[in-house]
């Protein structure tokens, strides 16, 4: 253990980053492989693989998008001095409070091609954000966002401002203070938020169902497939893979928080 710690301390920052990313990827791979072994048969894979890859295609970008948006807004809420900060946080936290189907309903209301916003998005992106993977990603991002935002705000507020003052006295611009001092010092709390956000994106169900439409082979993620195939034998494989993916994601992101990158 001590030797491992010594090796990790001796590593350059970029190699530590590579190691953490590899750990996350390996975590997902391990979850996928072990699920195969425990499922006992590869016969289900034809059925399972579609929802599995779709879940990855949805959860990974959704976590990244929710992470970027959540950390940015968490930083603004923690450091900004403007009226209505708490109101903004409450609005940003609505996806936690509201039932997912309600969120899905409002998303449909807003993003459907016939609406003003939906029409605009369709013109800009080239297609609607409903009944396709983009819609699923949007719904999962919205579900994961408040966890990332709230955790980031709390973690950033917990950073001792003396370190930031010391960095400013060294001549670092406010942007460099944020990137080189505040966010690295808040990384554990931020990683905790990303972990929960990732788990939420993996398991997102209600809004995805409404916005994605649960189309087999197109928008049916594992959470939706488990419900649809409740009596089918492959559901156990999917359940196991989903559990292992969640554990792998949590372990990987947890390592990211503990690492000294």
């Amino acid at each position: 253990m001590t030797r491992t710690r010594a090796v990790v301390q001796a590593m350059d920052v970029k190699w530590k980053t590579v190691a953490v990313v590899c750990t996350v990827v390996a975590g997902f791979g391990l979850g996928f492989g072990v699920a195969h072994l425990f499922a006992g048969s590869i016969a289900y894979w034809d059925v399972v693989s579609g929802p599995f890859y779709l879940t990855l295609r949805v959860a990974i970008p959704a976590t990244i998008l929710a992470g970027v948006a959540g950390i940015t807004s968490g930083y603004v809420l923690a450091k900004g001095r403007f009226p209505g900060r708490n109101v903004l946080e409450t609005i940003g936290s609505l996806p936690i409070i509201l039932p997912p189907t309600v969120i899905g309903f409002y998303l449909l209301e807003v993003l459907a091609p016939g609406t003003r916003v939906g029409g605009f998005v369709t013109r800009v992106v080239g297609h609607a954000l409903v009944y396709n993977v983009a819609g699923c990603i949007f719904a999962a991002t919205l579900a994961a966002f408040p966890f990332c935002m709230r955790a980031a705000r709390t973690a950033i507020e917990g950073v001792d401002p003396s370190f930031e003052q010391a960095a400013r006295a060294m001549g670092l611009s406010n942007r460099r203070v944020a990137l080189r001092v505040t966010l690295p010092l808040a990384r554990r709390g931020i990683a905790a938020g990303l972990t929960i956000g990732c788990a939420r994106a993996l398991g997102e169900y209600g809004a995805t169902l409404m916005v994605g439409g649960d189309i087999n082979g197109k928008t049916r993620t594992m959470s939706l497939a488990i419900l649809d195939e409740f009596t089918a034998p492959e559901r156990n494989t999917m359940l196991l893979i989903l559990v292992l993916m969640a554990v792998a994601a949590m372990t990987g992101v947890g390592l990211l928080g503990r690492s000294r990158v």
């Binding site: 003396s162 003052q165 400013r168 006295a169 670092l172 080189r180 690295p184 010092l185």
Partner: protein, 239 residues
Amino acid sequence: MTPALEVNVTRRIGEFDLDETFSVESGLSVLFGPSGVGKSMTLSLIAGLLRPDTGTIVINGTTVTDCAQGTYVSTQARRVGMVFQDGLLLPHRTVLDNVALAVRQANGRIARRAVAHTWLERVGADQLSDRRPGSLSGGQRQRVALARGLAGEPSLVLLDEPLSALDSVVRRELRNLIRDVIVSSGVPAVLVTHDAEEAEQLGDVVISMDDGRVRAMRTVERPTSPQSEPGSTTSAEAT
């Protein structure tokens, strides 16, 4: 000759009222007084970490704060180096990175690190380059903090009770180091302490503060021969 620092400010926080006027030339000036008289607050005002209610602060002829004119130069642009009581080294970075981060005069990571190595050598801490602040002793941390405070070629160095958290042996050792490094660098410095012996040994000028006011200011005559003891003083008018 332009004073290194001119301070003429007031600042009220709660019941505490700071109202001071002083100026210092080059060399090491010491703000001396018991705890709670406004010494550290004065440093924060000079560094721009705190804004005064009224008054002006001039560093090397450049007005960095003028409340009447609405002038307020940001902390980053003041080019002051700071050494804090507990070092405040960034715990997630190595010693070398901590110092390199403060280097402003070199472009590129390698050049900044080279400058940082030079300063770490000057304070006798180059062998600690790859270590994290968490694994350093208090004395080692302050050596690194001193290197970091000077590495950015500041026009003024501010030292906020840099020795108060150290034991007496390390404190004596670091007193000599601080004086040697500051004097040899030629950068004017203001050091805060509540230790009379420390003020006497370190300062070219000792500014005594009490209750938010400058009460006395005296020049410490330094011996020309290295064998002589410092401490003989002459009076100077407090402004």
